[in-house]
């Protein structure tokens, strides 16, 4: 090795080692090493693109029946890739449209519960004492209200609207999130490193942002990945009761419900929506697991 290359080498080494990395950059690299999580990411991305542009690619519409084909199996000839339902509507388009609703409900309701739940729980837990007491009794109060009763009241007062589903589900789900986050925060705020941050001159908000939230992430992410499937299932349950999305609009939950009734005569009408739903739920679970591991530095292989 010549002098020049050795110098260049040591310089490169210096540059590489001295550059600081943050938890999130590290976490991203770790996530990319996790095959299941990467596969889940790809599945979810494809799913989102598919439900976004899918309906435009098809000649059919989700509400207008094909008068020539009732309950036909999937075939390339007719152009109905996933077949048609008992009313002659194209199942491919309906699955995509249903996917839009299901994913939207899942993501929006979860996001609502995430934002409200994490900030509410973190504030209650961090400040503690009387603030905590009042905030958590309020949560208990809402908890005591039956969910169905809450949804029905909303429907009666505001009329039927898909956004009400988001509101209703989000309004109930953040309670669990707030409780979990509060408990975690309570245990975190007494840790030495939080006091160390205070001794280093950090303000309360800096401490919450730099120390409390990052340390909450592991638990929160796992809970989020459990919430998304749960929300999608709750929506399909509401649709089944006639409180969710209404015909001709549909969702995966509603499609599965319809398909299940025609299982013997038209199995394809269950198979396609159900496999989309299952694939999505799987992907969210794997992604959640991957994120949790990636965000925990101790788990680094």
């Amino acid at each position: 090795m010549t002098e020049a290359t050795r110098d260049a080498f040591s310089q490169a080494l210096d540059r590489r080692t001295i550059r600081g990395r943050s938890l999130y950059v590290d976490a991203w690299h770790r996530l990319l090493k996790n095959k299941a999580a990467v596969a889940a990411l790809i599945v979810l991305a494809t799913m989102i693109v598919l439900v976004g542009v899918g309906p435009m690619l098809s000649d059919w519409d989700h509400e207008i029946p094909d008068w020539d084909h009732y309950s036909t199996p999937p075939s390339l000839e007719t152009g109905h890739l996933f077949g048609t339902d008992a009313l002659g509507r194209d199942l491919f388009v309906r699955t995509m449209i249903g996917g839009r609703i299901s994913l939207l409900v899942g993501l929006v309701a979860t996001l609502v519960s995430l934002v409200i739940g994490v900030s509410y729980g973190a504030v209650a837990g961090f400040f503690g004492g009387r603030v905590d007491n009042i905030m958590m009794r309020f949560v208990d109060g809402i908890y005591a209200m039956p969910f169905m009763f809450f949804v029905i009241v909303l429907m009666v007062v505001f009329g039927r609207n898909i956004f009400l589903i988001f509101v209703a589900i989000g309004a109930v789900n953040w309670l669990d999130m707030a409780r979990i986050v509060r408990g975690q925060t309570l245990s975190l705020k007494n840790k030495d490193f939080v006091e160390a941050a205070r001794a280093c001159g950090g303000t309360e908000m800096q401490i919450i942002r730099r120390h409390i939230i990052p340390n909450l992430l592991g638990v929160v992410i796992v809970y989020v990945t459990l919430t998304i499937p749960q929300v999608i299932l709750v929506e399909s349950f509401l649709s089944f009761l006639g409180l969710g999305v209404q015909e001709p609009l549909t969702s995966w939950g509603a499609l599965v419900n319809e398909g299940a009734q025609e299982l013997e005569t038209a199995p394809w009408s269950l198979l396609f929506p159900a496999s989309f739903l299952a694939a999505t739920l799987f992907a969210f679970n794997f992604l959640g697991d991957g994120l949790r591991d990636a965000l925990d530095p101790k788990d680094r292989p």
Binding site: I18, A196, A199, C200, G201, T203, R210, P214, P297
Partner: protein, 349 residues
Amino acid sequence: MNPRAPVLQVRDLAVHFRVDTGSLFRHDYRVVRAVDNVSFDVHSAETLGVVGESGCGKSTLARAILGLVSAQGGSILWQGEDLVGLSEEALRLKRREIQLIFQDPSGSLDPRMTVGEIVAEPLKVFYPSMSRLQIRERVAGMMKMVGLSAEQINRYPHEFSGGQCQRIGIARALVVNPRLVVCDEPVSALDVSIQAQIVNLLKDLQKKLRLSLIFIAHDLSVVRHVSDRVLVMYLGRIMEVADRDSVYYHARHPYTRALIESVPIPDPVKERQRARRSLEGDIPSPLNPPSGCVFRTRCPYAIDACADRVPALETLEDGSQVACIRHEELAEQWKREADTDPTATETSS
């Protein structure tokens, strides 16, 4: 006396905690006097050792000096300015000059931050205008100063041993160039072999940076190694303050004497020979401290008068201070004992 002006003057400091004892419908509480009527000075570039059993208020004292717990009375004069009663924001800014080193080395480091971020944190708080490059250089320099390598900044705390974590804690405390560092039992969680390294590192850094240190410990031999002066606490009160040698060779307070006698001697022959007068019983509950002298329930020399009033912290002619009404007669009694039984002095040295 030390001719230099003190950087920190603590006067009659009192830190009380309320303990709720009420039930759901009845509001009631009792007061724990965790630190009561404590006064002392810390001079520039001096190490003040603080010793006492667990639960005697050492850590509370440390946190009160930094303003992490608020004092109920007295004053903490930092370079002439009283920290008690300052606003939260003003106190926060003072922490650039007074820093804290923790007992639990890994617990005081955020597990989700890289070591580089941990050491850089005080810089980011106090010097928001500092560029990334400047911060990086300062952090790298600090890492080297405490005996770690700059390449380790991207590691996480769990990848380090206890001793290394404590070095990181020291780097974090010193990165903003404080004048006073409060070390809250910095070595008691470490292996004995590592303790010496950390203590010597602290001593070296103190000399290099001309720091004042308040070194809290329950290990008397460690305190003896680092301190210029030693303060002995019991149940939230000062028992004795004196120069290191005078504490170890001529302890004036019965409690100090008992503490020193309880230190094992690493020579089995001498250890077996010496007469041990170990303390009996536990520290009384701070919720319900004894009247008068708080130490009287365990003091072998207690007389009835000890229960009557709280002994004042008396300053003697050599500058040391002691809070015991019998310290004069006891000093003579111990001197006589030492004359008749030469092993007695041996044990207390």
